[in-house]
């Protein structure tokens, strides 16, 4: 039994990794739940790529600097959100197309900039995060992003729900519709930046989507889904970190794979539309 706790009591870096990843999950997973409900899972993936050049430019200027790369990532992500939103609202292009256009430009720029500095190790750091090397400043940053994100999420919760179910209903209330839409995309960028410090740009989205997708196989109501998804994400981080410790595997992919396992288990055994349930429950009531 001790093996399950020992790494976290013995080693400060494991404690930090656990606290950091839990902070990221607490902020990011509720946003992830809404991304799956709004069919925006892949939008998130695009956005994760879009923040790369911001982080890369900041890295060119400041080196591996926590604050610098955070600001750079945020700036690039928000710029892509604003530009693609503006194009889709003022031209005939749909949002997915305009977003794809800007994120691809952004991604190409990011890879180009990173290659100028020729260091594969640094590139690796940006792409896969370094959850096992979080210092105090990084922890503080993740906790702050988590707090801001939860606060904004609570504030936007009502218009966001209405915007998802019945966008026309909200559009009549003027500013709230735009606030819900852009506010949500902003939340997505904020949490992706937090996620990229932990598990890297490419896997940050897994932290948001996988627990949300898994939770939907167990519960139906929205509030239950939010809570279940957060609990799932905590479990995934804990199991992932433990696996990475004992089998000497990189932490980011271990966490995402633990979450992936949870998702596949839910897919098969989930009580709400899981595979086995669907195949076996053919019984029905009389009325």
């Amino acid at each position: 039994m001790m093996e399950l706790i020992e790494p976290f009591t013995e080693y400060a870096f494991m404690q930090r990794a656990l606290v950091g990843s839990l902070a990221v999950c607490l902020g990011a997973v509720p946003v992830g739940v809404f991304m799956t409900l709004r069919r925006m899972s892949l939008t998130g993936d695009a956005m994760a790529h879009a923040i790369l050049p911001g982080a890369a430019i900041a890295y060119l200027i400041t080196g591996i600097s926590l604050i610098g790369m955070t600001i750079g990532g945020l700036a690039a992500g928000l710029l892509v959100v604003a530009l693609s939103g503006w194009v889709s609202r003022s031209t005939h292009l749909k949002e997915d197309t305009s977003l794809a256009a800007f994120y691809l430009i952004s991604l190409a720029l990011g890879v180009l900039i990173l290659s100028i500095k020729h260091s594969n190790l640094d590139l690796f750091h940006v792409l896969f995060g370094n959850i096992l090397a979080l210092d105090n400043a990084a922890l503080l940053l993740l906790a702050s992003i988590c707090s801001i994100s939860l606060f904004l999420f609570a504030l936007l919760y009502r218009p966001l729900v209405i915007e998802c179910v019945d966008p026309l209903f909200l559009r009549r209330s003027g500013i709230a519709s735009a606030l819900a839409h852009y506010g949500f995309l902003g939340l997505m960028v904020l949490n992706l930046v937090a996620g990229f410090h932990a598990v890297g740009t490419l896997m940050a989205i897994g932290l948001m989507i996988l627990p949300a997708a898994a939770a939907r196989f167990w519960v139906t109501k929205l509030d239950h889904t939010l809570i279940t998804a957060v609990v799932f994400s905590f479990t995934g981080c804990y199991v992932g970190l433990l696996t990475s410790y004992y089998f000497d595997l990189p932490a980011g992919p271990s966490i995402v794979l633990a979450l992936g396992t949870l998702y596949i288990v839910s897919l098969i055994f989930g009580g709400e539309g899981g595979y086995i349930k669907r195949v076996t429950s053919k019984r029905h009531l009389e009325a």
Binding site: L37, L155, L156, V165, L170, R172, T220, L222
Partner: protein, 243 residues
């Protein structure tokens, strides 16, 4: 309060969807908008709801905050995990906004609205388990909760069974009795003759406006049906004076 439509023209890609329409909708009117497909009925309703810009002419006497608008059901994501009560409660949005809590008073209003549309016992059902008719009842309950002086309904009884139509018609009649202005788009001429005192017959151009009996004559209906659905690409520019 009278809503004045003053020489109103609404345009899609240079072609008029509603062409030089003038009408006065008086406070407390129960008005049907009738006409063939493509006649501009929903476009007009959208303009009244404040959801599209008015290219020419004017709508006066209409405050967007006074309007409860029920569009056609296709706009709603039925797979979103909300209960009946939660969806109905979104009708409180204009009153409670981002942060005001839902108090006992609001909860009671919510329950009353659900009961008024005949859905007692459905409060905790998920909306994705409802039939089309039940969903329309839920949306009527939301309009009840919005509690606005002007109600706009876009083909509310499309593909709805007779019992549901009868029940929801009672709700509409209550609104009419309360002196609310109700404007509904409908294809069912029989229904309109029976329940709506006033009618606007639209075929892009206004064919008739006034008491239903006077408007829905065989002649007028024939004229409306004669509307050519396709836009005329070689039509000259309209020279009628703008208001």
């Amino acid at each position: 309060m009278t809503i004045e439509l003053n020489n109103l023209t609404l345009i899609y890609d240079k072609h008029p969807a509603v062409h030089h329409l003038s009408a006065a909708i008086e406070g407390g009117d129960l008005l049907a908008i009738v006409g063939p497909n493509g006649a501009g009925k929903s476009t007009l309703l959208n303009a009244l709801a404040g959801l599209r810009t008015v290219e020419q002419g004017k709508i006066t006497g209409l405050n967007p905050d006074d309007v409860a608008y029920l569009p056609q059901q296709t706009q709603i994501d039925r797979s979103f995990p909300l209960t009946v009560t939660e969806l109905v409660a979104t009708g409180l949005w204009q009153r409670i906004g981002f942060h005001q809590s839902i108090g006992n008073k609001h909860q009671t209003q919510c329950e009353q609205a659900i009961a008024a549309v005949g859905l007692k016992g459905f409060e905790q059902r998920m909306i994705n388990t409802l039939s089309g008719g039940q969903m329309q009842r839920v949306l009527f309950a939301r309009v009840l909760l919005q509690d606005r002086p002007i109600v706009l309904l876009d083909e509310p009884f499309n593909a709805i069974d007779a019992q549901t139509i009868a029940d929801l018609t009672r709700v509409i009649q209550c609104w009419h009795k309360d002196q609310r202005t109700v404007v509904m788009v409908s294809h069912d001429l029989e229904y309109v003759r029976q329940h709506c005192p006033k009618t606007l017959l639209l075929a892009r151009e206004p064919i008739g406006f006034g008491s239903t009996q006077d408007v829905l004559t065989t002649d007028n209906i024939k004229r409306a049906q004669g509307m050519v659905e396709a836009f005329d690409e070689s039509a000259p520019w309209c020279r009628k004076e703008a208001a």
